[in-house]
Symmetry: D2
Subunit: 333 residues, 4 copies
């Protein structure tokens, strides 16, 4: 919110900027044909590291930065050049990918004292794959535009496994004529790159999917629990739901009840998978987006609260399908 | 609840009864092989009438009763014999199907002064296709057992169209060795007959499916509405959800947003389909079952409240996917 | 529901009954002037025992029954006559008070094989102080009416302490001309006897109060927790709320935050007070009443679910204000 | 969020600033004894205008600004000096009060190109009476500190009437030694000035109170509606609740049921009072604060959604107690 306003204020009527930007678009577009020049990558966590590795495997020299230098070791050993700040990365690469935990980190990496935007080259392509508030993505795009650069949001679905295997899904928002240039890089890390519309819509698409996922997962857990209490066999109930109108991804692909399916977190004490704390974070983004757009989301909002309570009660690190366990009568009672 | 207790009290240690019942089971089983004898049908509403017609088409003489005599006309003209009470039907047929609006009607038809159980023959097979509280189904099964008869619950999914076409889905609960005998009749009216377990589990399966359906429908409506507010194209958003973990029947088969799919109620001003008032009724049954079994259903319960409010605000007769319209900003504001 | 129907069916057009009832009303009314004759008391639990003692202290001979004979010992030593069944009590007393855990117990005590109604005298006054579904109270009143007896519902507010001190509050529903006769007995056990209207309204009043209590208690716990997280001192926040529009009994008389008030369960590890499991039971009654009357109760319904989850997570026996503890971040995380 | 980060980054280790600030504190404190010097007032809406008038009545020369010049007319006629920007006000007054609609307006007025902080004098006292996100208040306090000025948040409770009568309640957050200086001005406009703690806690206190108010109002509306459906007289039910544990401000002072109380919006077609749209705004702030502090607020969150839906369904301008009307069966159904 706060940044939004400041940026809006300062972005008005920048005719010169716009001309420069027009040029930069040309530059960027032409760049598509260029040989493989360096790509910047900022944020080398569990997701960022395997993503950067896949870029290297595809022949891209990678210039990196992470607030924790040791995080860069693995990549450095693969020949990647490590710098001292996001600004340094921006000096040496005109295509940069960022993969960071949340709003404040992204804002600092782009707009901080040593941020990308302090030294970004005109015509640079900046792709943020973090999952953040779409309003922040829009603000950063305006800031980048002022520098003659292009900012796109491209959050991912799929976890660490998909990051390693290079089959993430990217949901991309930004200027359409830049999509091909972004896709060229993203296809090195993902099998599925979807253009969603103007900047921020990549975030919107991800937030929307995860909100519906959370609602249907909790609904599935409640339904399976109720059915069991009413005397139904869990496998039979799952089968009935999956051939009926109750069918959803949470019931037919990721069933939360132990013993119903194999190879899912519920078959492995809810280890691995997508952590409750991460789901709570995405639902928080949905909540904030809904509040800012005055959109009623009664069930999405309650799903947020359920996952928030679970985080407070010791389920933070379990897969989000552990809501089935949370709703069950405790054995020792 | 109330009946449950009374029945439980009076059903204790009825050794003679049980022997009689053992005999009756044999009788019933043997009956499977019998030529097409009369079948009783009670409750000739929008669903019951086409169901009874399909029995006649399959060569079964049908003996009918409805609290509104005129409701029997259509069937009478097809040669069906109309009686004056459920008891009369029970005198003339040892296989009876009931299709009634709700708990009290079912209780009266079976246990009332002129109810089926007043004159039911030993070994009769009583199939209730109404959607009611599973606890009531269990009570009635105990009452029937005392008379040496067998009661099964077999609620349907699919609407009037499916009833006419004879491709309803039946979810059947009751003594397993009776299932074949029930299936023989139900297959005349439905394409899919699923055995769910002991008596009451047919109701449980239907209630569970519809609860998850309601939760995912409201979740889909909220998600589509939020996405639209955040700048996403509804068709594109639906496409993204349907290839991701947000996928559910409500998003990929019955999308609530006008313009996204054809041939669904949202494409026809939410006319036809499954009425909000019927969904509210089924959620009420889920709510009562959850309360009686002390099962937490936070989202199912909120879904019930949302549909209850919609009924109070003029959506009672619209398809339940009209929740999308309910959550939207009113145009004239 | 179930009983309701059966009773309704069988109660129709009983002219003789009604005449008898008219007589009985006269009898009952006259009885008000009589000397202290025996009073029956069924259900000698934590609440019933001190209530019965207070009747004895006021000079009423008490005739008792409890399904657990040992429960009667204490009262027996005070000279109370112990019987073998509710029916026996009904044979020996024409004024009976019942204090039982829930619907099924009440139904059995009144309508079971050895129930009160099997041997109730014409003109008897039957007062049920249990907290149950108002629909069941209405059914039992109809059954009693058929026997020429009068049934009133008179649930209490106030716990074991108030029962001992004889200052319970009774909320009474039933025929108005019987209220004085009921009040004569209830004032021995309570300081506050309120006439609420026709039979069932006593239960309705209690259920309504406890639903609003649950909603405002959870709301208070959420609010205090949020304020603390935002840097407010709990005592100061409570003071501000209590002089503002957020004021409620849960904030100014029974604050759920340890350290804010003395002499409340939150000051004593949430021991004593009104157990979460009892609140969940009353909310279940509110839920069922709302479902049966098609009344939307979004927050009351969610409050029910919150307390239901707490029961499943180990809070069943703690005071219901422990919802503050339930919502807090666990210390060991 | 966004601004928070930027400010945090730039505020680090400003030793000189801190010394200057120390001086300024002395200046400010001494100022308390000074004769009545000019006070700046920015934001002359329905609330701001009567507030500024009360300052003038107490002998303070007032220097004003509003984005809509015509808004200043009334005050100008009372001799107030009107300026062209917040910065101009800051040049001419070292005590400034701001009363603005929401976050973005406040941010622009303080940090915009012509904002207060562009020309604020060292030692100035800046009091924001708008209701906004406490996180934004904290950010602005840091920005002000950098300029050697002091920022306090002092949101009000009480509507236009209280603003005119000069008996608003102010909840004040900020440096404690500044409280007396702030109180000197605020007591001209309010009868009740409460110190809540560090900057942001004034907002926190208001948000918390209004969240609990919303929860108990909806709870009261649900409870009254359910009681009426169960046969209770509304006035009697209100009386019972108000002498029991369900008692709250919404039941005993502002009852939402027409006919129960006089002189409240429910007695006047829900006109006047506190608009649903304003309550929805405050609940949005509570929601965002809870999300940012990871605090679970299940009922507060659902209350937000209920008011959000009401805004979408035509209740935006009615008093927030109209939730009773929203939950009722529509007459014309």
């Amino acid at each position: 919110m706060a940044a939004a306003l400041m940026l809006r204020v300062s972005v008005r009527l920048q005719f010169r900027q716009r001309r420069v930007f027009a040029d930069s678009v040309a530059m960027v577009s032409s760049r598509g044909m260029a040989s493989k020049t360096s790509v910047g990558f900022i944020g080398l966590g569990n997701m960022g590291t395997p993503m950067a590795k896949n870029l290297i495997k595809h022949g891209y020299p990678v210039i990196t930065y992470d607030v924790f230098p040791e995080a860069c070791k693995e990549i450095q050993e693969m020949g990647s050049q490590v710098t001292d700040s996001p600004a340094d990365v921006a000096e040496r690469a005109d295509r940069i990918i960022t993969m960071l935990p949340s709003n404040p980190n992204v804002i600092e990496v782009y707009t901080g004292n040593n941020g990308i935007l302090k030294k970004v080259k005109k015509g640079s392509l900046l792709i943020d794959s973090s999952t953040i508030d779409p309003a922040v993505s829009k603000d950063l795009a305006k800031e980048a535009e002022k520098m003659g650069a292009v900012f796109m949001d491209a959050p991912v679905s799929g976890g660490v496994g998909a990051a390693r295997a290079g089959n993430l899904t990217f949901m991309v928002g930004g200027v359409e004529q830049e999509f091909d240039a972004a896709k060229e890089l993203l296809t090195c890390m993902g099998s599925n790159v979807v253009y969603c519309g103007e900047v921020g819509t990549g975030q919107a698409a991800k937030i929307c999917n995860n909100m519906l996922l959370a609602v249907s997962m909790i609904g599935t857990a409640e339904t399976m629990n109720l059915g069991i209490r009413l005397g139904l066999d869990p496998k039979l109930l799952a089968k009935i739901l999956n051939m009926s109108s109750g069918r959803c991804w949470s019931s037919d692909t990721y069933n939360p009840v132990p013993g119903v399916m194999e190879g899912v977190p519920s078959a492995n004490s809810y280890q691995g998978g997508f952590g409750t704390t991460l789901m709570a974070k995405d639902l928080g983004l949905a909540q904030i987006s809904a509040t800012n757009t005055k959109t009623p989301i009664p069930l999405g909002s309650l799903a947020h609260q359920v996952y928030r309570i679970m985080c407070a009660k010791g389920y933070a690190l379990k897969d989000f399908s552990s809501v089935f366990q949370f709703l069950r009568e405790e054995e020792n009672l």
